[in-house]
């Protein structure tokens, strides 16, 4: 079902293969118990991810995009098909992961960073830049229970942003917080995406994908309909949406 259009073949051959998905499917059980019926979140997904790619995954709501990221992060394993990771660490960008309400911002930064794969000393080394970026100042040693939702969002982003896996998997989130911090966080995130890092970015927002990604996989109903360079895939995606709404 997948049409792999290789327009920039030379570029791809120069870069190392990071991950390869072949006819990957994943099923959940919808209900508890012996009679819980199976539900296929993903049915047949195939594409490759290369070093330095910014790969966009586009599709309508509920077509299995988030599940796909969890597969790539190694959180789940395919029920059928093959997912080959050639030895890179891929992780989801998760905000406020593992935060404990009664602990200080500093303790939560350490805890959250450790959950996301950093060692304690690495977080301590980056603590100053975390505090500075989050604009928390002395509040860092106050329990996060006293934080405003904006402060919490800033801390969550600043910690998550410090985690630097080989492949960063982003599910819709670019920026967080109030208008000012939203701009600031979106800006650094876009800089990260534009750098040579390998990024997978999930969105149903075609304009954002167009702006950020060099390659795109289009998922429809658990199936990868097309994978290739951004322009070609997005054009097909729009054509499909148009037909759908007309029908």
């Amino acid at each position: 079902m997948t049409t792999e259009i290789i327009t920039n073949q030379e570029v791809q051959q120069k870069h190392e293969l990071i991950m390869s998905l072949k006819n990957v499917g994943l099923s959940y059980r919808r209900k508890r118990g012996v009679f819980g019926e199976e539900f296929w979140a993903l049915k047949d997904v195939s594409f490759d991810l290369y070093q330095g790619d910014t790969l966009g995954i586009i599709g309508r709501n509920g077509v299995g995009k988030s599940t796909l990221l969890r597969l790539m992060a190694g959180i789940m394993q395919p029920s059928h098909g093959q997912l080959i990771n050639t030895g890179y660490q891929a992780s989801l960008l998760s905000l406020q992961l593992g935060f404990i309400y009664y602990l200080s911002g500093r303790e939560n930064a350490i805890l959250s960073g450790m959950f996301m794969g950093l060692r304690k000393r690495e977080i301590l080394k980056r603590m100053d830049s975390i505090i500075e970026f989050a604009e928390l100042g002395d509040f860092i040693d106050q329990p996060i229970a006293t934080y405003s939702s904006g402060m919490l969002a800033r801390l969550g982003f600043s910690v998550a942003f410090q985690v630097d896996p080989d492949v960063l998997l982003i599910d819709e989130i670019l920026g967080v917080g109030d208008a000012e911090f939203y701009q600031k966080s979106t800006k650094v995130m876009q800089e990260k995406i534009h750098s040579n890092k390998t990024i997978v970015f999930v969105s149903h927002h075609a304009a954002l994908i167009q702006q950020l990604c060099n390659r795109v996989v289009w998922i429809e109903n658990g199936v990868s309909r097309m994978a290739g360079d951004t322009r070609t895939v997005l054009a097909e995606y729009h054509k499909f949406l148009h037909l759908e709404s007309a029908a």
Binding site: R29, R32, M76, E107
Partner: protein, 264 residues
């Protein structure tokens, strides 16, 4: 490319386990005005109730019934709190494990460590109480670390197996609580069944199949009666616990990638 060796991974997870244990303990102390003083007050209150009930109201003030009871309760409480809390750990970490790939075995381990730290506070209080009542440090105290270790093995085995199964059978949680209450009454916390008249030998043997009966009796032997623990029983408990730990670890690793798909 950053690939961690198995040893690096092991130490990273170990660091995470210790920091999370610290964080959970601290969060618990931050939640109340008196903070960690509750780890002392709560058991004092708990023990006082039994002292008033049995020592004063039921007239056991002079014999050794109250110490007998408190040793049993303290040791039992450690076992009970770990098991009933640990059964929820993997289920409770559902949000976390949907966002990051971690070995699920760390969640019950963190819980066992937190509850064990709290137990150590209570145990210190128990020692203080015993010394006040005139029980002295004796030559068998050196066996205490062994007793702790064997009971920790038993707790780990039961906790891992429970934590592994409960996500698939959440209904089990209700059963666990009641089974624990039943085992509580069969563990000789209140009375020494072996000393009761009219107990058949066969029933006595069955009774001693319960590892907690042996452990509680061993703690009492060391702390109150200046007697050596039953080494043979301890060895048997250790062997079965190690097998249990292996089995629990096997189960959790087998379902490592299934847990994130299970509904909380």
């Amino acid at each position: 490319m950053r690939t961690e060796t198995r040893i690096q991974l092991f130490f990273r997870y170990l660091e995470l386990i210790f920091y999370k244990t610290y964080a959970d303990l601290r969060a618990e102390t931050e939640r109340t005005y008196l903070g960690f003083m509750w780890w002392i007050f709560e058991p004092i209150m708990y023990m006082s109730i039994f002292y008033v009930m049995f020592g004063i109201l039921l007239g056991h003030r002079t014999d050794d019934y109250v110490p007998f009871l408190l040793v049993g309760l303290t040791i039992w409480q450690w076992f009970k709190s770990c098991l009933s809390h640990a059964s929820e750990t993997i289920l409770g970490a559902h949000f976390l494990m949907k966002h990051v790939n971690l070995p699920k075995i760390i969640f019950p381990i963190i819980l066992i460590l937190t509850d064990t730290v709290k137990f150590l506070f209570i145990f210190t209080l128990l020692l203080a109480f015993l010394w006040l009542r005139g029980y002295q440090i004796n030559e068998y105290y050196w066996a205490l670390p062994v007793l702790f270790f064997v009971q920790l093995l038993l707790i780990t085995a039961c906790s891992l197996i429970l934590a592994a199964i409960v996500p698939f059978l959440p209904d089990l949680r209700f059963v666990v609580e009641n089974v624990l209450t039943a085992v509580f009454f069969m563990s000789g916390v209140f009375l020494d069944v072996s000393k009761l008249p009219h107990v058949l030998d066969f029933h006595k043997q069955l009774y001693y199949l319960n590892p907690m009966v042996n452990l509680i009796e061993d703690f009492r032997n060391v702390l109150m009666y200046n007697r050596s623990p039953d080494w043979q029983a301890l060895a048997i408990i250790s062997i079965f616990s190690l097998l249990g730990i292996w089995f629990g670890k096997y189960l959790i690793q087998k379902f490592e990638y299934v847990y994130p798909k299970v509904m909380p």
